[in-house]
């Protein structure tokens, strides 16, 4: 949109402004194909500095500054207009916290009245997202899964060493190790002691949150996130060697697969029975007990495992591209 058009005009200006350094950069670009990562970074950054000094410096080009100013003003105006529209919309909306809003209709009423009987969960929200509207939640867990897959595609490093010039932007494992060593804590004693004390507590709290998902606030996702945070803390304290002993890629894959497959199969069975008016032989149990609410507890556990592994996996991928 205006971003693009502005950019085109900018570009046309830039072209003639930066003829002088165009040559040397283009030569360099031609001889190493489709990759800057291969050339020496220092020299590359100098080139970059030159580009930025020529192109992005205020005093060297007037028109660009004018462009920037216009752009900013347009931005501010657009933001104000958008906010105004939104506020006008909200001012026509039903009252907050009012009892007879359209949102408080028979749907919510049935969730509250019949929820305990039909799902066996004391926490109505958990019962709702895992039993009434379980289709959304099934999709949601797979959103997390597909995000993990894309992060793996982007960041997992499978090359041991560069093979020639045509390795594109993909760096090698060795480089990543070197890059990661800079930020590796040098066996920080305080961190290690503190995490020795805290990690078990955090993990136990996470397990509690998962197991009580149908009785009290929380549930699979939040508990899994807590456990993942504890694992990340342990990793930061003790480094990859120690965590690699009990958590490698194989474990990650297996847990994710089993959790998601169990989730999908269980929900498929439940949907099938429900739609065909069969009796799914899943007992609701006694309300308020830990072993109750039919499928909700196992599903919470599965989601929790998947989320914990995924969070730790995210961190490991970001940190050095692999476990």
């Amino acid at each position: 949109m205006n971003n693009d058009s502005l950019f085109k005009r900018l570009l046309s200006w830039i072209r003639e402004s930066s003829e002088s350094f165009d040559e040397d950069m283009t030569i360099q670009d031609v001889d190493e194909n489709e990759s800057f990562g291969v050339v020496d970074k220092q020299e590359h950054i100098e080139n970059l500095e030159m580009v930025r000094r020529k192109v992005y410096s205020e005093k060297e080009n007037k028109s660009m500054r004018r462009m920037e100013a216009i752009y900013r003003w347009f931005a501010v105006l657009f933001a104000c207009f958008f906010t105004f529209v939104l506020i006008v919309t909200v001012s026509h909306m039903p009252k907050t916290g009012d009892l007879n809003n359209p949102a408080n209709n028979e749907v919510a009423e049935r969730y509250i009245k019949e929820g305990l009987k039909e799902t066996g969960a004391t926490n109505i929200v958990a019962g709702m997202i895992l039993d009434y509207r379980a289709f959304d939640t099934l999709g949601e867990s797979h959103v997390l899964f597909v995000a993990a897959i894309v992060v793996t595609i982007l960041l997992r490093l499978d090359k041991k060493e560069k093979d020639g010039i045509n390795t594109s932007i993909i760096e090698t494992i060795g480089e990543a190790e070197k890059d990661d060593k800079i930020f590796e804590p040098k066996n920080d004693t305080i961190l290690q002691k503190v995490s020795l004390i805290f990690v078990p507590i955090i993990i136990i709290f996470g397990i509690y949150v998962i197991l009580n998902g149908h009785l009290s606030p929380g549930g699979g996702f939040s508990g899994g996130a807590i456990i993942g945070a504890a694992l990340i803390m342990y990793l930061n304290a003790f480094g990859f060697e120690k965590t690699g002993k009990f958590f490698n890629e194989k474990v990650y894959k297996t847990v994710c697969f089993s959790g998601l497959a169990f989730y999908a199969l269980a929900k498929c069975y439940a949907f099938f029975c429900g739609a065909n008016h069969l009796d799914s032989h899943i007992s609701k149990g006694i309300a308020g007990h830990i072993l109750s609410a039919g499928l909700i507890l196992p599903l919470d556990i599965a989601v929790g495992c998947v989320v914990a592994c995924t969070m730790y996996g995210f961190y490991a991928m970001f940190r050095k591209g692999g476990f």
Binding site: M93, P102, I149
Partner: protein, 502 residues
């Protein structure tokens, strides 16, 4: 105990999810076969659903033990089944056509991840087609967006990463607007299920209560879906994303992803807001203006390109403009034309991409027109495919593009306000299409000179080296001609399905 066919939507969705989580453990080849079998099964099930609905009408399938307003539900109809069948067949063809490229351009340790993404993409498309619940639609739209981003970025050169970032930013804006629209709609009506929302929206518009919020909500939802499906001002990410990703991804993205969003938009117009409320609203005129601009702009910038794949990508900006034009005419004929254009464009555009890659392979993988001279002689089948696609795009009779243009004309006649501009836009864009596509066809068919003899890479590719590819292109051409020749039963199906929608 209901008929067994009614379980097929559930089975196809859960099957996609299961196969995707299974493929994360498999090797590349195994994942490939799982993917192929899955797509075939989904297509077969959708066909069964379509036939079933033709016999005894649409059905509603409860997802869970409790009926609709409380639980989720999916809804099967003729149009849903047909769309599922069409999407899966196009996806299968695109995967077959680009198989060799996938092996070349993706690291072999990440092959299975590619097939996982394709499975999830198919799952989200099927769910968007079948779902009857707005929030479920939002969740699966997100799955669709993320897997599309993965499909773009899996070929890791700088261009694709940059294109993926642009794509993500644009479509996240779109999802944000869509989500806020859904939330406001929930607040105004108190429902998330499409049919219930329609009832309460009818009540509201009758009583004149909440008029401004309702209008702005509809505007947000439309704008979000338009951004996600690259309507004209929001197409900045499109040429890089389509032009540099691996070819199966390009075909799938251009022919299926945006179409999924547009189909969701049509569904929302019919099933959530109600056609009679939309068709005289000011919103459609805005959409009309944008789509008309998009048609012209896409064609012009496609003319300026000298890179074959970017040219094809820009022409799909124009085609998406056509679809929105049909929607914004606000008549039933316009809707039918839009749906038919979805089918025609999906078939044609994926064929163009697949055959373009054949041409570039025959000319040292360079996509510049100067190198493509006479490449149709070096790779005969690809040349045939590209020529057929170009003719269809220009709108020569006996191809599918002709029928869709005819339908647009016919629909525009019934709409007095927009008849003249529609005619003008269609005429201009047809001329521009003819110019740039015919230019390309003439170039690839201009007789081979000897200057390529010595240079390596400009090789003759024989049919027996690319059996899969040949079969794919032939099927594509057959599909296109079928859409062009026997269009009447298809149009009949479409109008039946649209009636079942309402």
């Amino acid at each position: 105990m209901r008929d067994f066919v009614q379980n097929f939507p559930l089975f196809s969705i859960v099957g996609c999810l299961l196969s995707s989580s299974t493929s994360s453990l498999l090797k590349g080849r195994a994942a490939k076969w799982v993917n192929t079998i899955l797509i075939m099964c989904v297509g077969a099930m959708s066909l069964c659903v379509m036939i079933y609905c033709l016999k005894n009408g649409p059905f509603v399938y409860i997802m869970g033990h409790v009926p609709a307003p409380w639980g989720n539900e999916v809804r099967g109809g003729v149009l849903e089944g047909g769309m599922g069948l069409f999407f899966s067949s196009i996806m299968l063809l695109s995967m077959m056509g680009g198989r060799k490229k996938i092996l070349e351009e993706i690291e072999d340790t990440k092959q299975n991840l590619y097939y996982i993404l394709v499975n999830l993409m198919l799952c989200s498309l099927i769910a968007l087609v079948y779902t009857n619940d707005l929030f479920t639609a939002y969740v699966f739209v997100e799955i669709n967006t993320i897997s599309a981003c993965g499909l773009i970025a899996i070929r890791q050169i700088g261009r694709t990463i940059e294109a993926a970032v642009r794509y993500m930013i644009m479509s996240l804006l779109g999802s944000g607007l869509f989500l806020v629209g859904v939330c406001m709609l929930y607040d105004l009506t108190g429902h998330l299920l499409m049919s219930n929302i329609k009832e309460s929206v009818a009540l509201l518009s009758a009583s004149g209560e909440f008029r401004e919020p309702l209008l702005i909500t509809i505007a947000f939802i439309t704008m979000g879906l338009a951004i996600k499906s690259a309507l004209f001002p929001f197409h900045a990410w499109l040429p890089d994303a389509y032009g540099y990703s691996t070819i199966s991804s390009a075909a799938i993205l251009s022919s299926l992803v945006s179409k999924g969003y547009i189909f969701l938009l049509i569904k929302i117009i019919y099933r959530v807001i109600g056609f009679d409320i939309v068709h005289d609203s000011l919103l459609l005129n805005v959409v009309f203006g944008f789509s008309a601009l998009g048609i012209i702009f896409g064609s012009v910038s496609a003319m300026k390109e000298d890179d074959i794949r970017r040219m094809v990508s820009y022409s799909s900006v124009a085609q998406i403009g056509y679809i929105y034009l049909g929607i914004s005419l606000g008549t039933k004929e316009g809707m039918v034309a839009a749906v038919f254009q979805i089918l025609a464009h999906a078939a044609t555009k994926s064929m163009l991409f697949i055959s373009a890659i054949g041409l570039t392979d025959a000319s040292n993988t360079s996509r510049k027109f100067t190198d493509l001279t006479g490449s149709a002689y070096r790779n005969k089948i690809a040349g045939m495919g590209f020529a057929a696609g170009a003719l269809s795009m220009v709108g020569i009779p006996l191809f599918s593009g002709f029928i869709s243009k005819l339908l647009f004309m016919r629909a525009a006649v019934n709409n007095y306000g927009k008849m003249m501009p529609t005619m003008i836009v269609l005429a201009i864009s047809t001329i521009l299409n003819a110019i740039y596509f015919m230019k390309t066809v003439v170039r690839i068919y201009s007789p081979e000179r000897n200057l390529y003899e010595g240079r390596e890479g400009f090789v003759k590719i024989h049919t027996k080296d690319q059996v899969f590819y040949t079969i794919t292109v032939i099927i594509f051409i057959a599909l296109n001609v079928a859409l062009g020749l026997c269009s009447d039963p298809i149009l009949d199906l479409i109008s039946k399905g649209l009636d079942m929608f309402a």
